[in-house]
């Protein structure tokens, strides 16, 4: 069975690494394709303007270092290096040391670009950062079975916590509870692709009910750890569908791959719990 493969922690971590590499490729190619507009040479999006917005902008030494990395030329180089590192990580079978180096390069370049792009740390990037940092820490002792297990448990915990927190946050706001927030999003061309905007206008009830179901799914996500074999797969399928819908309708590709990268860890944790804890 395919699911039996997920009992092998090395296999699961390798799979996670490959999905993280795909997500990193997407981040780099997206930023490079929007390079001229995102990292303009002049004006508001230029680093020398943006850095004034940063908390540490008054510290000379910080600026001295960051100026080298985050000006237009530096950021291009960082994105290119991230792209190369993630392609190598995806397509080549690397030694533990080289794998660790590549993951660190991806993490470092992601952290720098996130620091530069002052908009906000979105769900996709924040989860990818967490994944890269976790993978890098795990790579300090790559062959230890205990470390591998701890990392996979940690990842599952983060995923469950993130979904549940989002569920609670949505539940606490009237706009989300009523489904109005989803309808608003599906009518906003800065969120949803124009070709799908008709959903918000023509089928507001469908959007609102889907959003309410999403809240229920997010709130009940911790159940995935204790549910039996066929039922927990439904949760996983709903999760995959949710991320695919986000990618399809809103273009949230990083969100898709960075969050799905943690799913193998969740399957591993579920299997382990079923075998070692819940059978007691």
């Amino acid at each position: 069975m395919v699911l039996e493969l997920f009992e092998d922690s090395s296999y699961v971590i390798n799979l996670i690494t490959k999905i993280v590499a795909i997500a990193a490729i997407i981040t780099a190619t997206q930023s490079l394709s929007h390079f001229r507009s995102l990292y303009a040479l002049h004006g508001l999006l230029e680093w020398r303007t943006l850095r004034k917005l940063h908390r540490f902008s008054h510290i000379h030494i910080t600026n001295l270092i960051l100026d080298r990395f985050l000006d237009t030329r530096g950021i291009f180089l960082i994105l290119a290096i991230r792209l190369i590192a993630s392609v190598i990580l995806l397509f080549f079978h690397l030694s533990h040391l080289w794998s660790s180096i590549m993951i660190f390069i991806i993490f470092f370049s992601l952290a720098l670009t996130v620091y530069r792009e002052i908009k906000f740390l979105d769900a996709g990037y924040s989860f990818l950062l967490m994944l890269c940092a976790g993978l890098w820490v795990q790579s300090w002792s790559p062959t230890s079975h205990m470390v591998q297990k701890a990392f996979l448990f940690f990842l599952s915990f983060q995923l469950v916590l993130a979904y549940t927190t989002l569920g609670f946050r949505k539940l606490s706001q009237l706009e989300w509870r009523s489904g109005y927030a989803g309808v608003t999003i599906f009518r906003d061309p800065s969120w949803v692709f124009r070709r799908f905007l008709h959903l918000g206008w023509n089928s507001p009830d469908l959007v609102a009910r889907s959003e309410q179901l999403l809240i229920i799914w997010q709130l009940s996500f911790p159940l995935i750890l204790i549910l039996g074999s066929p039922y927990y797969l439904i949760y996983i399928l709903v999760g995959v569908l949710f991320h695919f819908v986000n990618a399809l309708f809103m273009g949230l590709n990083v969100f898709l791959f960075s969050w799905l990268a943690a799913y193998p860890a969740l399957i591993y944790t579920h299997t382990w719990l079923q075998q070692h804890v819940l059978t007691l």
């Binding site: 995102l38 004034k52 917005l53 002052i118 989860f127 950062l129 795990q138 915990f157």
Partner: protein, 171 residues
Amino acid sequence: MSVIIIFIFIVWSLLSLLFNMGPTTWVKLIRRYNPVKLIPKYDMFSNWEGQPKALYYSATERNGTEIPWQRVESSYPPCFKWYNIFWNSKFMKHQVLTVCTKHLLARIHSSNPDLYEMDYEYHILVRYFVNIGREKNFNHIQFVILEETYQNHLNLQASEEKFRSTLIKIT
């Protein structure tokens, strides 16, 4: 080494739990239903789907009750605070405002406005305004004017002069 790494993961998990759904959040949830207060506990690695726009709406659309900006500010997730504007006297506020407006107007009035870009710059602009608003004690109506003016421009329904004059009026 293995013990250290496992310790790191345990501490990291505990910190995530604390910052995501820490005791303060739960106390608030139990004590009094208040969405604005429920937003804050997010750490760097948590996910936050909100935006300044959403935050702004959540702070002003409470049956017309105005929520003080200090409370809105306290509801920013830390990840937002990290990139919060370091607003000091050295920085030429009006100059920045002019740059922001100029850039936004250029985008809005271009033949093919890139909504993604505009959204990005809009976030920056909103944050400038939040800061200016805090300094000048803006009330929520002034923010509503700003928002509506911007939305009108997004729909290419208002003139550049009107937008500029509204900006000047409210600042």
